[in-house]
Subunit: 204 residues, 2 copies
């Protein structure tokens, strides 16, 4: 019997979307459970570390967006060809998360004074620093985050930009044509385009 | 000719130490370059994303502690036996980083009001939540973070506790005997014990 996958996440893109892209890419038998706010008491016991997203594989729950994406990537032929190629993918992914965490650290800072102090450096230094580095990285890798061809790292990179753009209030990709093209290329992969056409409209 | 490794990091444990543990474990030919404060202009151009640690492998620079640790783990036989075992390791490692990031978000918050507001929830809720979850995880895996045997995830977990304990000001492991035993077991691995005996005395 084929494996049965159930993704548990909020009704938005963010850290659930890379997993959805990979499940769609691999044409897995999967269910897309979307929570309106919190986990809900009925499902909370399943979340291995109290957090979304988590993925049930044949009823067993696995946590962590990146770990799950790397695993699904290995199942659908989107890993590197050797350990050094996997290192290149992982390095790009972790650097993307560094950028994401800078944005998140500002966006979810509920101390207004602290939040205001972070905004200038984030917008004028940190975001341009990482986006330029990533633009150059993708240029150097023939349009992909690593190794000159498509990997799960490209799907993980492309999927959360809708969410990040909502957080910052503008299109992060606009000044970076190579990154923009990569995101468009991922969205045009037939299985992902098919998923996107059916994806529920969400605010993030 | 064997590969030549040069680790660039601050003169402390933190995110450099898992890489040092793995380089020691594998008895690689490696150099341990320790910076007193920042990168220094002479080496800054080498850091792929402007950050420490980075590892030079035969002169080529690779970034990101976790990506490098996973790579070195695969070279020294400390990966999982299959993709699902690797997922279990990655899940544990990323959950450890969630805990670390909670601590770091408080420790490096330079807004004193914001920092003071974070301290209570960190100390009474977040740290106990993650440490209890990790203690249970290691219990469930026969004393290791995954799969019932030693992996690079155990080395990555064990190495930064000196640093984390300095940040919080107490021994995080003290109430968690299973985690404490895991850290002690890693430190007693002969190659790592040999490295620790020679390790420079540092403040973190």
């Amino acid at each position: 019997m084929p494996d049965k996958y159930t993704l548990h996440y909020f009704n938005g893109t963010a850290l659930g979307e890379p997993i959805r892209y990979l499940l769609a890419f691999g044409k897995f038998d999967w269910e897309d459970v979307r929570y309106k706010c919190d986990l809900g008491q009925d499902k909370g016991f399943l979340a291995p570390f109290g957090q979304l997203p988590f993925l049930e594989i044949n009823g067993k729950a696995y946590a962590q967006c990146t770990a799950i994406s790397r695993y699904l990537g290995s199942l659908v032929g989107l890993s590197g060809r050797d350990a050094l190629e996997n290192l290149a993918i992982d390095m790009a992914v972790d650097t993307f998360h560094d950028l994401r965490l800078r944005i998140v650290s500002w966006a979810y800072d509920f101390n207004l004074e602290s939040k205001a102090a972070k905004k200038g450096p984030l917008m004028t230094e940190q975001i341009p620093f990482y986006m330029k580095k990533l633009e150059q990285l993708v240029k150097d890798n023939d349009g992909y985050v690593a190794n000159g061809r498509l990997s799960w790292g490209d799907l993980l990179f492309a999927a959360p930009f809708k969410y990040l753009n909502v957080l910052v209030g503008f299109d992060l990709l606009e000044p970076y044509p190579t990154l923009k093209q990569l995101v468009q290329e991922v969205e045009a992969i037939p299985q992902i385009a098919e998923y996107l056409a059916k994806r529920p409209a969400t605010t993030f």
